[in-house]
């Protein structure tokens, strides 16, 4: 017990120390050093605390009632679920901090690294406090601290105009989510003064049905806007590319998971079992996000926006797991629900790992090739071989290819959805298989998306001289990415172990559930609910490597002569980079297949030679996919607001008589109301 709270203290002191030291650091270099030092110290403290809780299964508690006693004071309680997310945050934070040392070196002249250090440590402090918070005020304090500091981090490269727009979008959407959290927590607080999570849990049991549904809806929208569910995801593809790469790795890998943490904490922990339509709504949101995310990822040419949309897709997959869990829980199939939540948490862990790897690799590419546009990359595998291999591992994991961790969690989500078919009502049971169809389509499209991401940017010939001259970044960044890649492989092969640990966490959420299904068939097998099907990534990897080794040995014995020549081009003289397939060309067939969804804007202009129209001088074809979700939902809201604003502006017309008329009118209204209401 003492170990846990002392580790938490080390964490908080580490972050605040790092923040203050980097703010007051005399030189920029020192500021960078202090930032990394504070972050590493804090993350180590966080990891120790979380590991302690996960090992001993005993939550760590700390109370500071004197602070803001009116609002309930600062209360900290780290239980199993919180510890899982704290491990996630601290691990990714630690590695991102190390990566940041070399990455922010290029900011030395342009941006204040002191402000960056303050905000970076504040961001980590805010994120780590969210899972530890145990009363409403601490949760909201940590939540908003995370939002504010991440806003300033997104705004570091503020010289570009779209960064500023991205910052604004991000700030407004996060605050929208935050302002929904307020009434949600207050609807749950019974007497208005008891606001610790234990009281909320007790209060939630006595709440009438419609308040529970109201709380559920508010929680889904509020945490959904942080997680990036489709209608509320618009800030994600803007904020992540604008932020520095290791910040977008932290945001995409870990920050949006706190939306998932909030959803689990409120819906599963506080509200417990609800009606079936809750699960149905989460399933619908999950499939919408999964499909919407991957479809827009496909047509992206900006590598970081592609990864941001793929985060939206993976959040959709996580929500499918949670949705399956909720539906099964509402029909009393507790053991199967456990598998659903377990699959969701496993995918949260895996996504954090491979998405952070991909963003950091993009950071290296950006650092060297000074561009995010895939149309100007190509052939980077020649100049940056190690980054290429690491990016390949990340994209293979993201495309859920077998031996890696993406496959393990996606397989578990498939099995959780499949077990949904055992629900007594057939008309409800039909929902889960259709979700399987959506999930399969999503994983297929994800494979296409990552073939494009890796193939176009790393393979074949460089399309710009920047890409041609790209060389490997600093060894520390490659080491950090190596750790993440190892994480992908190990999490993939050792998936059964992590899953049994996760089952214990989910059990701690609702103590009433029976013990987890026998996952102890052998620590090699991933077992589907009640043992109907099993898969072992470890054995798959062993068989595959053994077959390949045998093949290579056979060929080596026979002797293979290799001759290097030009790529065959139907007798062309010389192969140039302009003949390669570009990223928009690669995605063009699917854009044509899903043109109803994309509704791309296309315009073709042919300029003809003045003398005769038969000699065409140039043909320019531009086609753009503008996410119609923004046009459908967000533009009307913005237009409405500006219309109201112009009306209200006209109130302040400038003439004194008008103002005095307002005064007299207000007097008349007040007197009439005083006279009217006896």
């Amino acid at each position: 017990m003492a170990f846990g709270s002392s580790a938490l203290i080390v964490m908080v002191v580490g972050y605040t120390g790092g923040a203050c030291l980097s703010l007051l650091a005399p030189s920029e270099r020192l500021a960078r050093a202090f930032t990394a030092l504070g972050a590493v110290a804090g993350c180590v403290g966080g990891l120790a605390a979380a590991a302690g809780v996960l090992a001993t299964r005993v939550p760590v508690e700390a109370m500071l009632p004197s602070l803001v006693s009116a609002a309930g004071g600062i209360v900290i309680r780290l239980d199993m679920l919180g510890a899982f997310f704290l491990v996630l945050i601290a691990a990714v934070g630690l590695l991102a901090a190390i990566y940041g040392i070399t990455y922010t070196a290029e900011y030395e002249g342009r941006h204040s690294l002191r402000l960056f250090g303050l905000m970076f440590n504040g961001f980590l402090l805010g994120m780590t406090l969210v899972p530890c918070a145990a009363n409403v005020f601490t949760f909201l304090l940590a939540w908003e601290l995370m939002a504010v500091t991440s806003y300033f981090l997104v705004m570091t490269e503020s010289e570009h105009l779209e960064t500023r727009h991205a910052g604004l979008w991000y700030a407004v959407m996060t605050h929208f989510g935050f302002l929904l959290l307020l009434p949600m927590f207050l609807m749950m607080a019974p007497g208005g003064d008891a606001t610790t999570f234990a009281d909320l849990r007790a209060g939630a049991a006595l709440m009438p049905a419609e308040t529970r549904s109201g709380v559920f809806l508010l929680a889904l929208v509020a945490f959904g806007s942080k997680a990036g569910i489709v209608p509320l995801h618009v800030w994600l593809p803007r904020a992540h590319p604008a932020a520095p790469s290791h910040i977008s790795a932290l945001m995409s890998g870990v920050m949006i998971k706190l939306g998932v943490y909030g959803l689990l904490r409120v819906v599963v922990d506080f509200l417990g079992t609800g009606p079936a339509w809750w699960g149905g709504l989460v399933l619908a949101a999950g499939s919408l996000s999964a499909l919407g995310g991957v479809l827009y990822a496909l047509t992206e040419n900006d590598l970081k926006r592609l990864l941001a949309y793929s985060s939206v897709e993976n959040i959709g997959v996580i929500l499918l797991g949670i949705g399956a869990g909720l539906v099964l829980q509402s029909y009393g199939l507790r053991a199967l629900a456990l598998v659903g939540f377990g699959a969701a948490l496993l995918h949260t862990l895996n996504h954090a790992c491979f998405k952070a790897l991909l963003f950091l690799a993009t950071g290296n590419v950006l650092h060297e090739a000074h561009t995010r546009n895939m149309e100007q990359m190509g052939g980077l595998i020649k100049g940056m071989p190690q980054t290429a291999i690491l990016f390949l591992i990340g994209s293979a994991a993201a495309a859920a290819l077998p031996p890696l961790n993406g496959f393990a969690s996606e397989w578990m989500v498939f099995q959780a959805l499949l077990s949904g078919a055992q629900i007594p009502q057939p008309e409800v049971a039909i929902g889960t298989p259709l979700a399987i169809g959506v999930l399969a389509l999503t994983s297929g499209l994800a494979a296409v998306c990552f073939v494009k991401a890796f193939g176009i940017s790393f393979l074949a010939m460089p399309r710009s001289d920047n890409a041609a001259h790209a060389r490997e970044a600093h060894w520390s960044s490659r080491a950090v990415m190596g750790v993440f890649a190892a994480g992908c492989v190990v999490l993939g092969l050792m998936a059964p172990h992590t899953l049994s640990g996760i089952y214990r966490i989910v059990e701690s959420l609702s103590p009433r559930t029976p013990p987890a299904p026998s996952a102890a068939v052998g620590s090699v097998w991933l077992v589907a609910p009640n043992g109907i099907a099993q898969v072992s990534p470890l054995l798959i990897a062993c068989f595959l490597t053994s077959v390949i080794v045998v093949l290579v040995a056979v060929l080596r014995v026979r002797g293979v002569e290799l001759r290097h020549a030009d790529t065959w081009g139907c007798g062309r003289i010389q192969q140039t980079a302009r003949m390669e397939y570009t990223s928009s060309a690669f995605a063009e067939p699917l854009r044509r297949v899903f043109s109803e969804l994309y509704r791309p804007t296309e315009d073709l202009s042919i300029s003809v030679h003045p003398e005769s129209r038969y000699f065409v001088r140039s043909i320019t074809y531009t086609s753009q996919v503008v996410p119609w979700i923004e046009r459908a939902f967000y533009d009307p809201v913005a237009r409405g607001m500006f219309a109201c604003a112009t009306q209200v502006r006209r109130l302040q017309g400038g003439s004194v008589h008008l103002y005095l008329l307002y005064l007299a009118g207000a007097l008349m209204v007040a007197l009439a109301s005083a006279w009217w209401f006896k």
């Binding site: 502006r649 302040q652 017309g653 400038g654 003439s655 004194v656 008589h657 005095l660 008329l661 005064l663 007299a664 007097l667 008349m668 007197l671 006279w675």
Partner: protein, 219 residues
Amino acid sequence: MVNGTFSQLVTLGSSGMLLTALIVLWRKGVPAYITAYKWQAWLLAAITATVGYYGRDPQLYWVAAGLLALKGVAIPALLRTMQRRFGAQREATPYVNTEVSLVIASVLVLFAYVLARPWMTVTHLPTRQGLPLAMGLLFVSLFIVVSRKKAITQVIGFLMLENAIALLAVVGTYGVPLLVEFGVFLDALMGFLVMQIFVYHIHETFDSIDVEELTRLRH
């Protein structure tokens, strides 16, 4: 019977004051407004004296004297100097022409009577008839401030508003305590002086005291 004449005198005085306010709405020239205001101040002083006499409250005599000196003599003189200085003879065409403003004034007085009905049931003071008239004067002077365009006319409207409230005080409560009376005097004088300085400022910077010019600050 004594109370009868007392309440009649007070009602006569307050309706006289209301009449002077209507003159401002009716006439066009600024000098006419200044004389109307002067008569109103004198009537107010008279009412205060009568209330002092009948209510057997010697302090009110001092108050009446103060009113006479300040509002009856000093302020009209300052207004005249200001008016001569700017030569603003004719009031620019107001927002609302004369007939419509008189109709509005009558509606406002009617509203004041409706509003004041509960007070009549509450109090049995002989001067209770003056209450609705005071409220009427308040609403009419408010209307003057709102609808007139010249800065001087707005100042006169504001001064009439203060007269209405003083009348309300005298009629309703036989005069507020002396210290408060002194404070209100001080404020009335300071308020008027500041407004006078500002009118000079306007005249100096906009070289016209038509409030229509003052619409640069908007939104």
